[in-house]
Symmetry: C2
Subunit: 396 residues, 2 copies
Amino acid sequence: MINEQYKAMLQGKSVIRQLSEFATERGKEIGYENVFDYSLGNPSVPVPSEFNEGIKEMVDTMSSMELHGYSPSVGIASVKDAIAKSLNERFGMNYTGNHIFPTSGAAGAIAHAVRCVTKPGDEVLTFAPYFPEYNPYINTSGAVLKVVPANTVDFQINFEELDKMFNENVAALLINTPNNPSGVVYSKETLTKLADYLYKKQEEYGHDIFILSDEPYREIVFDGVDAPYVSKFYDNTLSCYSYSKSISLPGERIGYVAANPKCTDAELISVICSQISRGIGHNCPSSMMQYGVARVLDKTSDMSIYEKNMNLLYNELTSLGFEVVKPGGTFYIFPKALEDDAVAFCNKAKDYDLILVPSDSFGVKGYFRMAYCIDTEKVERSLPALRKFVKECYGR
Amino acid sequence: MINEQYKAMLQGKSVIRQLSEFATERGKEIGYENVFDYSLGNPSVPVPSEFNEGIKEMVDTMSSMELHGYSPSVGIASVKDAIAKSLNERFGMNYTGNHIFPTSGAAGAIAHAVRCVTKPGDEVLTFAPYFPEYNPYINTSGAVLKVVPANTVDFQINFEELDKMFNENVAALLINTPNNPSGVVYSKETLTKLADYLYKKQEEYGHDIFILSDEPYREIVFDGVDAPYVSKFYDNTLSCYSYSKSISLPGERIGYVAANPKCTDAELISVICSQISRGIGHNCPSSMMQYGVARVLDKTSDMSIYEKNMNLLYNELTSLGFEVVKPGGTFYIFPKALEDDAVAFCNKAKDYDLILVPSDSFGVKGYFRMAYCIDTEKVERSLPALRKFVKECYGR
């Protein structure tokens, strides 16, 4: 019979996806160019041209078996080595290819990482505001996701609430910096404090506590912001990366888990991930995509548009009197709504063809997310609509 | 802490992979061309040239967002429609795109299909000889794989043993035709009898019983053999397909689940699979690979070499007095060993640089598998070694 657990999940449709569908429908009425659709975090800039050129060159020069053949179950050695080398140069790490496990994007990376360091019933803590997909990612693995309430002052970590929730069943923390939805980058101070805290807890409970560091936005960092590399701060870190955002390849499903060389069983993580893969049916991402990204490891898409859009929105929002923490990266901004009920606020915005995502599903009430990975010209055209909405609905 | 279940799996290393590694090592000593490596089922013929041409054309003509952007969570509509149309034309089915769920190969297809129609603790039956990876595929999903002993007369289904093992906890049967490792194709009579049996059992137990039909070898069928389409025989069938073998793309991880339009909740299977994906971190196979295969749905690699190799081996084996069922497809043959202990038999063969896989891990004792997806020239050169081995070790 059809599995009732998954059937029930059909009821809990993603708020983001529903809003995106609403925007598409509205676009059919008034032209999609007139819908200020801030719902989806879908990169809007092209892949670096070197990637596409690389694909064509590989098709022309590599043998069919070499290019399209089975990759080893732990990933293609030359690709793993190249990723390790690039991370070492950029972040002063000491990875070898053995610490790198290629995956189908960050979702695949988290699916492997969480199964690697938890057993059924273990708790995984994450910090609000957080990406709502963490719920299915963690809860269907057998572990249980618990959400630490937000620090709404600056969206760094709320250590007081963390300490209240910590207990011996916590096997891992799932963190995300630069953060979706807040756009905030965890500071060096935050990461140092977190590492000190976890080292203490590991000693107190006598077992490993891992950080699963979800880093798809690692390369989208704005001028003047320092985005520290999480794994530098804490040995038991598994970095979960995706090329979806940095080189605009979300549909190609390519990323990796990088195990800190000093973490427990560091040399085993990659082979254990390959065992996990057998169970969940991954068996490596596409060979062509593994080879493809290895050729452009030090490239990114031209992401200057995201910073331009952020500044336009941040300036407008602050001048309209919104409380908003300035994003340090990503393509999200997370202002406080003008009434307590963010769902009501976002519903009213729809009348002005502004598609905003209420914060409730991100684990905090009273805020909204705007994904500004859209054309700058459209952001500019949305500002009068934003002003009109605020004036007519909230008298500002 | 590192998950002990997966850590333990490291001990149970695949026999096939170990033999393949042995062959590679031996190759370093005597030259790989002198190792008659029949261990791995890795396609040896190139992808159809239209596939590679299609990739280049897409890179040149499609926008980056269109080609590399997020695919819908149920897969790309035009790809799903094209697959449905092709299956309808070839097999007289009535699929729509809604019945097709693109996956990362057959492994990904089975991972989704089994979670779709079982709940933890349910039994899934398969028939020996069977692909050993079915153990992790099924057992890590929460369901339990049970193996029905082989019918060693012709490697069709052993209905007597099936009936002995059947009980109300059986939620699905996982079948594989053309079969790895036997090479046998289930006949129309076998499939009719199986369907009749399952319809009766569904009525008896008052719940659905699904067939999960693992079909990566569906296109590799030899002259004069009729390979019936499983889903034509039984409504509650989920066909699990892979392009790995038919167009030699094993590293690109692309396949699908096709839900019989008459199965229970047929219109929901694909969306339920997309929910399952959220939990196991797939979120669709590569967009480029989805588009890529959609352009070559009616092509296959030139697979005539496999039939040529099969005939060479079948004739030699029978003339040496082996008991062997003639394969109807795939690139495997599964003869009876010349002593009861197949492991001992295959170990002796190693001294003649013949890499044969003992049948024990396929769920039947006393046989061995040869994967003849290698150059015909090498098959020819292996025959004297085979003769020498049989003569010196078994006096034939």
